[in-house]
């Protein structure tokens, strides 16, 4: 009744192939954007920003990134945490000013000191660096498939975390081995550092989320995305019909790593502010993002958002109910969270392998006919 497509007529091809062909969907999308940009910044407070909104936005980027690789291109990766670490450390180096040593003409090492780069461009550059690293670790995917590849990506996870622990240049030789985000701003408003206002940090992340989600949506429904999906469905068959597996797989790794790297950079600079690599970007993070896309829906941009929201909200909710409501100890709540998450993964894989996104699709189908199902 409310959600319907009657009366929506496409008169041009452009109209027919737009992202939201149904008018109601389109208005809902504009409405969500309007609320996100025009309402939430005015009512946001510290708790909501740090407990819910910032992690949701940042994980949504990471989940979209992993979804491109796993959901669209079919290459399971357990190295997300490692790639997020690359993004975080690259961002740190760019925003604090990087020393680069290059071989000069006379064979001497010459030191070039880059000036500190604006945080906005630091994040993007960090994404590019991560894309390059992802490309390197994606090379074996041409020979290795399925869960062999999943295990091979563990190499990236463990190697990268180890690297950022040992290579003191990456954390500017600080004694603690941590990296701390200095105060940086965009257009005069602080977005990182302890004094940043929650609304500024929120808007900064939101801009990235909207831009990247838009890019991802358009990549995946274009020829690049169709190539990825062909590889996912059956790589040999895809090769026979003329999809270049080298190009398709490596582009998926690069694009996915770019997203994950941006997420890592934001996670460090805007959300956490201080990072110890093993703790923040360990193997648990890789699984967390993987769970987001399984629960949210493999091969769906909306699913990435739904999964991220679910996995961010679940611990908050459980903590409020179990610790706040029933007065149980926090470690018990954490264990119960493990059980629930594990059980949910299994349940979703059994009952609804396409995740929350599929439930959403079904709900829309039902709503089109509601309340007169015949």
């Amino acid at each position: 009744m409310f959600y319907r497509e009657a009366g929506d007529f496409s008169t041009t091809y452009t109209q027919d192939s737009q992202t939201f062909p149904i008018a109601f969907d389109r208005y809902r999308y504009y409405f969500v954007l309007a609320v996100a940009f025009l309402v939430i910044p005015f009512i946001i407070n510290d708790y909501w920003a740090n407990a819910v909104l910032l992690p949701f936005l940042i994980y949504a980027i990471a989940a979209i990134g992993l979804n491109i690789l796993t959901g669209y291109c079919g290459q399971v990766s357990l190295g997300t945490g490692g790639f997020m670490a690359v993004g975080a450390y690259a961002c740190y180096k760019f925003m604090t000013g990087m020393d680069i040593y290059l071989m000069g003409a006379d064979g001497e090492w010459v030191r070039y000191a880059l000036p500190p780069i604006n945080i906005f461009f630091s994040v993007i550059l960090a994404g590019l660096v991560t894309a390059f690293v992802g490309l390197l670790f994606g090379l074996p995917s041409l020979r290795i498939k399925g869960f062999y590849l999943a295990v091979a990506t563990l190499a990236a996870q463990f190697f990268l975390v180890w690297l950022f622990n040992k290579w003191s240049w990456t954390y500017n030789y600080s004694a603690s081995g941590q990296i701390n985000a200095p105060t940086r701003g965009v257009l005069g408003y602080e977005v990182t550092g302890p004094t940043a206002e929650p609304w500024a940090a929120y808007l900064f992340c939101l801009v990235f989320v909207v831009a990247l989600a838009w890019i991802a949506r358009n990549l995946t429904r274009g020829s690049v995305g169709r190539r990825w999906m062909a590889i996912r469905d059956m790589d040999i068959a895809a090769e026979i019909i003329g999809v270049n597996p080298l190009g398709a797989k490596l582009s998926a790794f690069a694009v996915s790593s770019f997203f994950v790297g941006v997420a890592g950079a934001l996670f460090f600079s805007v959300y956490l502010g201080a990072v110890e690599v093993g703790e923040a970007f360990g193997i648990q993070k890789s699984f967390l993002v993987l769970f987001m896309i399984i629960i949210g829906g493999l091969g769906s941009i909306f699913g990435s958002f739904a999964g991220a929201a679910f996995m961010v909200l679940l611990p908050v909710l459980l903590k409020n109910i179990l610790v706040g409501g029933l007065g149980w100890p926090t470690d018990l709540a954490a264990h119960i969270e493990f059980i629930i998450v594990g059980a949910l993964i299994v349940i979703f894989l059994i009952a609804e392998p396409h995740g929350l996104a599929q439930l959403w699709r079904l709900a829309k189908e039902k709503l089109r006919l509601w309340p007169f199902p015949y």
Binding site: F147, V151, F287, L332, H335
Partner: protein
């Protein structure tokens, strides 16, 4: 003999012993993979769960004490008795069999004919579930596991080698026991799969599900059986690792190392698991010994994975694995 060479030999020996422990975990993976084509990520957590349960039963802990105390406001922790190790192992084994049945009944039955990668992710969920469950049941603190295995330096080897080379080798008794037990376990598994009716049925299922079904082998039974055997292997591995480094969460991460072991050895080969384990064990110890100081140490964290990664690029099916044939 020069000091360095002797030292390298000692490192190699220790690496071999560590490799045996990796191989123990890897065995469980291979068993399940051969019988059902499922790559069971939860094997490591099963080892942790088995070890936790064993300690819990031996110490007479009240299961779910933490939860009970939180819900009812009581203060129960221990029954106040101690169960002998042998009896506790039997109880733990029974629990692992129940777990195997539950996994089959609640999870695998519903996922028949799904893609391998979906099953793999389901076992990741299973691993999470089991981890939380184990922690709630027995508490998450680090526990000491002592089932009466000898531990510490083997003085006899130390003395003999000192007299022979002027340098005493440090070999842990526990590692030697582990080697013996691993050898026994593999022998037992081979005998089981070659000479018993169930073992032959298991191999038949591994060969071809449908053909096995058509000659009257119950797939459900075989899967419960194989998960139980894997549970048993996990229990043995859990005892060994637990005695070595305490029963704690990191046990499930150490078990992750079994994955590169498998990739080296090939997923379908029991000898492959052993050889892969030894290669990884020796490789990472020697690498740390030779290049660790130059690279800043702790290379053991990633060496196994990178080695497996590089190896797979040249031989995707592993050392002993069956050739992967893909058709459209």
């Amino acid at each position: 003999m020069p000091e360095q060479l002797l030292f390298a030999m000692e490192v190699t020996l220790n690496g071999l012993m560590a490799g045996v422990l990796y191989a123990l975990v890897a065995l469980g993976f291979v068993l399940i993979f051969k019988a059902s084509g499922i790559f069971n990520y939860a094997q490591g957590v099963m080892a942790l769960f088995a070890a936790l349960t064993l300690v819990g039963i031996m110490d007479g802990q009240v299961p779910f004490a933490h939860l009970i105390n939180a819900v009812f406001g009581t203060e129960v922790h221990h029954f106040g008795w101690h169960v002998p190790a042998v009896l506790a192992i039997v109880f733990t084994m029974i629990l692992m069999i129940i777990f195997a049945w539950a996994v089959n009944y609640f999870v695998l039955r519903h996922l028949v004919n799904q893609e391998p990668i979906i099953l793999f992710m389901a076992t990741i969920g299973l691993a999470y579930f089991l981890e939380g469950f184990g922690d709630i049941m027995w508490g998450a603190d680090i526990k000491k596991l002592d089932v009466g295995l000898p531990q510490g330096i083997n003085l006899w080897i130390d003395e003999t080698t000192f007299n022979a080379f002027g340098y005493g080798f440090f070999i842990d008794n526990l590692d030697m026991v582990a080697t013996v037990i691993a050898a026994l376990l593999v022998t037992a598994l081979v005998v089981f799969s070659q000479y018993t009716k169930q073992g032959r049925a298991l191999r038949a299922v591994a060969d071809d599900h449908q053909a096995a079904l058509s000659v009257g082998i119950s797939l459900n039974f075989i899967w419960v059986l194989v998960w139980s055997v894997a549970g048993f292997v996990a229990l043995v591995a859990g005892i060994m690792w637990g005695a070595k480094s305490g029963v704690q969460f990191s046990l499930s991460l150490i078990a992750l190392k079994a994955l590169p072991v498998l990739m080296l050895g090939g997923f379908t080969s029991i000898p492959g698991a052993i050889v892969g384990g030894l290669i990884i064990g020796v490789g990472e110890k020697l690498f740390e010994f030779l290049l660790g100081p130059a690279l800043g140490g702790a290379t053991e964290n990633w060496f196994a994975y990178v080695l497996a990664l590089l190896f797979l690029v040249f031989r995707p099916q592993g050392l002993f694995g069956e050739k992967i044939i893909e058709r459209v």
